[in-house]
């Protein structure tokens, strides 16, 4: 399953952010690999550092953040040491990224066609006419009907699911081998989500694209991933084959994450373990008793 060549190899990556006059270490020495034709999930709660990791690899860290240590190899290029101009070329050609909110990645002032053609002309040496043909093929390949008509439309005229497909088409026009997908379906309806997941799965199977999937949604991971890295507070606490992670999680945090799929397997009562919580519950009980009594008074009057 995890058989292709290694596309992306992140080694001992650390990332720091300035917060006022202090610094905050968001990512501490993490390592991960993405192989061709595989989907690798990086999971954890919001704030665990998973998105920041993706941004650093893609060269999109905010100004207040910087990589303090580590390497990120895409083939034989260390992405972290490249100059911005060089990185821009690599981004178009070898790797692409899609985001949670696809509509905000498209410019509402230009048609879909204009933006796609611009991108294609920029990355491949082709005429606008040829670029248009490439765009049509790409849109069809991500399952969009009537691509001709779509090219004339604006991002605000199409649904979120269609926007995300346009983004995938746009991300792949230049033949990228690595796709970084940061919560690609979180903002979408479940039926549309299923279609996009299907699409990602097809890209991996048919084109051998390697996908780094950043998500907190364990359902998406269960459906799609081959390999899983679990991230907590800037560190990878566990990694493994998706079946091992779901069936034999070793780290308590992984177990906790997996438990969060269900509402009921633990006691729903307030845990009496600590005094503070005990007092809290007792106080709430008194308050509720008062509310009930006052309601009866109102009803009787």
């Amino acid at each position: 399953m995890h058989s292709g060549n290694t596309l992306l190899s992140v080694r001992q990556l650390s990332i720091e952010f300035d917060r006022g006059d202090r610094t905050f270490e968001a990512v501490r020495g993490i390592s991960l690999d993405v192989k061709a034709g595989s989907i690798v999930a990086l999971i954890g709660e919001s704030g665990s550092g998973k998105s920041v990791t993706a941004q650093a690899v893609f060269g999109l860290l905010e100004r207040s953040g910087r990589v303090t240590a580590g390497e990120a190899w895409l083939g034989d290029v260390d992405l972290l040491t490249r100059k911005p101009g060089e990185l821009r070329r690599i981004r178009g050609r070898d790797m692409a990224m899609i985001f949670q909110n696809p509509a905000s990645c498209l410019n509402p002032a230009f048609t879909i066609g204009h933006q796609m053609i611009e991108t294609i002309v920029h990355h491949r040496r082709v005429s606008r006419r040829e670029a248009r043909d490439i765009a049509l093929v790409q849109l069809e390949q991500v399952g969009l009907a009537e691509p001709e008509r779509l090219l004339r439309r604006y991002s605000f005229q199409i649904s979120g699911g269609m926007c995300q497909r346009v983004m995938i088409a746009l991300a792949l026009v230049s033949g990228a081998r690595l796709l970084i997908a940061d919560e690609p379906t979180t903002a979408l309806d479940v039926t549309i989500q299923a279609q996009i997941l299907d699409e990602l799965d097809r890209l991996r199977r048919e084109r051998g694209i390697g996908i780094l999937l950043i998500t907190h949604d364990l359902g998406v991971v269960a459906e799609l991933a081959d390999f899983v890295y679990v991230m907590k507070e800037g560190e990878i606490v566990e990694s493994g084959d998706v079946y091992d992670i779901f069936e034999q999680p070793k780290h308590p945090y992984t177990r906790e994450l997996l438990d969060s799929r269900f509402l009921y397997e633990r006691s729903m009562e307030e845990s009496p373990s600590s005094d503070r919580r005990g007092n809290h519950a007792a106080r709430n009980r008194r308050f509720i008793q008062d509310l009930r009594t006052s309601k009866e008074v109102v009803n009787q009057s």
Binding site: E45, A194, L257, R261, M268
Partner: protein, 235 residues
């Protein structure tokens, strides 16, 4: 459709199917062109805002993005206290005490009283939104996609909080969501909407087994699997 007292009714369907509009109709926030809405046996169809006011406190909304419904210049105390003032005058001290009690019920402590909405975390803001809704002593709580974009851990905590409150305060819930994954655990019954119509209503924990409509099946099949061995979407 009917919501019986003390139950949780789920209302599911994709975006644009009319879930939110239907909930507004129920709350009298949107006029009906035909049909009737009754609340506790009272026909409220076509009631004006003024006429609805006395009933309004008995039905409250919890929003996906609570912070958008807060006045950013109000302290948390003032936000939660507003509905209290609608039900008669309280002294400053009584009012503060009541606000603290309501906040404590949603697991927030008194330290947030003098803070402003932007100073709180997203989770705390949602708790404040729930406390404010509860402070007008509703019987029916309409939750519109309350935690759908949050991570699992957070969503679980918040849903458990809502379930606890339901038990403690004898609430009735209308739960609007496009996420069917929690329906079996959360809802007594679920109504499936598609293009402005309720297609069917089934028992929450029987949604996979008892649904008759192909659209319900399609929705259910789109829910991601809980384990990699049960993958639904592949090939």
């Amino acid at each position: 459709m009917q919501i019986k007292q003390g139950m949780t009714l789920g209302l599911v369907g994709e975006s644009g199917c009319g879930k939110t509009t239907l909930s507004k109709l129920l709350l009298g926030l949107e006029p009906a062109t035909s049909g009737r809405v009754t609340f506790d046996g009272i026909d409220i169809t076509g009631w004006s805002a003024g006429r609805m006011r006395p009933l309004r406190s008995r039905m409250q909304l919890v929003f996906q993005n609570s912070v958008a419904t807060f006045d950013p210049l109000f302290t948390i105390e003032r936000i939660v206290a507003e509905p209290l003032d609608n039900n008669g005058r309280l002294s400053v001290r009584e009012r503060r005490r009541a606000v603290i009690e309501w906040l404590s019920l949603v697991d927030l402590d008194g330290q947030v009283l003098n803070r402003y909405p932007h100073e709180l975390s997203g989770g705390q803001q949602q708790r404040v939104g729930i406390a404010r809704a509860l402070a007008s002593r509703p019987e029916l709580l309409v939750c519109d996609e309350p935690f759908s974009s949050q991570d699992f851990m957070h969503r679980k905590t918040m849903l458990q909080l809502l379930l606890r409150l339901k038990r403690q305060l004898n609430l009735t819930y209308l739960f609007i969501t496009h996420d069917l994954s929690l329906v079996p655990e959360l809802c007594d019954e679920v109504s499936v909407m598609h293009r402005g119509k309720v297609l069917e209503t089934v028992k929450g924990d029987r949604i996979a087994a008892d649904c008759n409509h192909p659209y319900t099946r399609e929705l259910w099949n789109a829910v991601p699997a809980l384990n990699p061995r049960d993958r639904k979407i592949r090939f």
